[in-house]
């Protein structure tokens, strides 16, 4: 069973539908007991970091998420779910985040009128490390992105994949132990995205 964490941060249907499509058993839940009992956990989300952190605190999920990662349960962050596992986000006037990955989340700035913010659309991911979640996925494959803020990782060893936009090269995939987190939306990235979710559904981290 894969638990999809529900913390009122956007629509989780597409994640559920993608998992059902690849034949993975899943449940959308905000119940810490269900999340802790799950074999795997997906932490998705769209929206703003400040509201997300407030909601996670209210639902008592901050410790749950830390425990999931401490237990070496396979954990996949997506988009906002990825951003709030960093230490800090510039969003909402500065938001202290969960701090599972060293670094900060920064806002794109662009002087080029043709470079729109948010980034909405497909962009390539250069694979920096042959992580099991990239198995069967070619280097520089395209994934679907929707975001105005990007992760800036403090330690290079966490960087699994990189993407360029608005003049910055940012970590679009990070990983450590049983944690893997992506800025893009695998559930919206067609065949390569489904492949990544399938890899996740079978992944046994070496810990």
């Amino acid at each position: 069973m894969i638990a999809i964490i529900d913390y009122n941060a956007g629509n989780l249907t597409s994640v559920r539908l993608a998992l059902e499509y690849i034949g993975a058993d899943c449940e959308i839940t905000s119940d810490p007991k269900h999340i802790l009992a799950a074999e795997r956990v997906i932490f998705p989300g769209v929206g703003a970091a400040g509201a997300a952190m407030a909601e996670l605190r209210k639902l008592g999920l901050l410790d749950t998420i830390k425990t999931v990662v401490d237990n070496n349960t396979p954990f996949l962050g997506i988009c906002l779910g990825t951003q709030v596992i960093f230490e800090f986000s510039e969003e909402d006037g500065g938001t202290a985040c969960i701090g599972l990955v060293p670094g900060a989340v920064k806002r794109f700035s662009s002087s080029d009128p043709m470079c729109k913010i948010p980034q909405i659309g497909w962009n390539t991911v250069q694979i920096e490390w042959p992580h099991p979640l990239f198995e069967g996925i070619k280097d520089s494959s395209e994934f679907y992105f929707v975001h105005s803020y990007y992760p800036s990782v403090a330690a290079r060893s966490y960087v699994m994949g990189q993407t360029e936009y608005a003049g910055v090269c940012f970590a679009s995939a990070v990983g450590i132990g049983s944690l893997f987190a992506v800025q893009f939306h695998p559930e919206r990235s067609g065949r390569v995205g489904l492949k990544m979710l399938e890899n996740f559904s079978k992944w046994v981290p070496l810990c």
Partner: protein, 258 residues
């Protein structure tokens, strides 16, 4: 450089994909779910589904259709037509759509854009606009916004409306030229460029795509971030792959593997 997106548009009427010229004389073309899967497998970057009669028939959008598409399509798709309330937006997103397109509703009730963006995020609120050329001097951009499928004139200037919608929080604007719709004579490049270079959010060009060269033009001269295709692919005259190959040859970044 962000990849330029090619987005087939499925206008749905009575559970069939249909296509007209300048919003009139529609002909039925096929099953929306089969077509959505075929385009998605064929390499399109996104899809748009419009329930084009929901509004006129004063009924809610066909949510079962959205749900069926969501089960089989794993690229982003936007849905429009018959959206009246925030609850309608929620039910479309909850059925598996990535984005909701509001058009007549946004003109009637602009506050819904702000409320929708606040509740669901800007990225899932798309403004669809149907501008038509006007010689009237009160329209500085030269285009007036029409609604209800080119049935009503609003007295609003196209560029003013685009800027206002950006301020209200839409994530993207689809500029659908009424004059070019279904003609296959090419996009209205001046209109697309005018809107795209004057807002900070992505602009999707719509109306007039007939050949791959039209797509090259709209991404270069028209400064569009994405473009909608309908008749040229529905007819079988071109595939998404052919269009993308032509774009790649012209040096425009596209997604070439899927």
């Amino acid at each position: 450089m962000l990849i330029k997106r090619i987005i087939p548009c499925l206008d749905v009427r009575n559970k069939k994909v249909t296509k007209g010229v300048k919003f009139r004389d529609n002909v039925d073309l096929g099953d929306p779910i089969e077509m959505a899967v075929a385009y998605s497998e064929g390499g399109c970057d996104e899809l748009v589904l419009y329930d084009i009669t929901a509004s006129a028939e004063r009924r809610p959008i066909d949510i079962d259709l959205v749900r069926e598409v969501g089960k089989v399509v794993h690229i982003p798709f936007a849905v429009g037509g018959g959206i009246e309330t925030l609850d309608d937006i929620y039910s479309v997103l909850n059925a598996g759509a990535e984005k909701v397109s509001v058009n007549s509703l946004a003109v009637k009730n602009p506050a819904i854009i702000a409320e929708g963006a606040k509740r669901f995020g800007s990225q899932c609120i798309v403004l669809g606009m149907d501008p038509v050329k006007s010689d009237d001097e009160k329209f500085a951009s030269g285009y007036e916004i029409t609604t209800r499928g080119f049935r009503e004139f609003t007295g609003m200037d196209a560029l003013d409306w685009a800027k206002k919608a950006e301020d209200l929080g839409v994530g993207e604007i689809v500029v659908n030229s009424v004059d070019a719709d279904g003609t296959r004579d090419g996009f209205e490049l001046n209109l697309t460029r005018l809107i795209s270079t004057n807002v900070g959010i992505p602009v999707v060009a719509s109306g007039g795509a007939g050949t791959p060269q039209h797509l090259v033009d709209v991404f270069s001269e028209g400064a569009a971030d994405a473009a909608i295709v309908a008749s040229m692919v529905h007819s079988g005259d071109y595939t998404i792959r052919q269009i993308k190959e032509e774009l790649a040859r012209a040096g425009i970044p596209v997604r070439c593997t899927w």
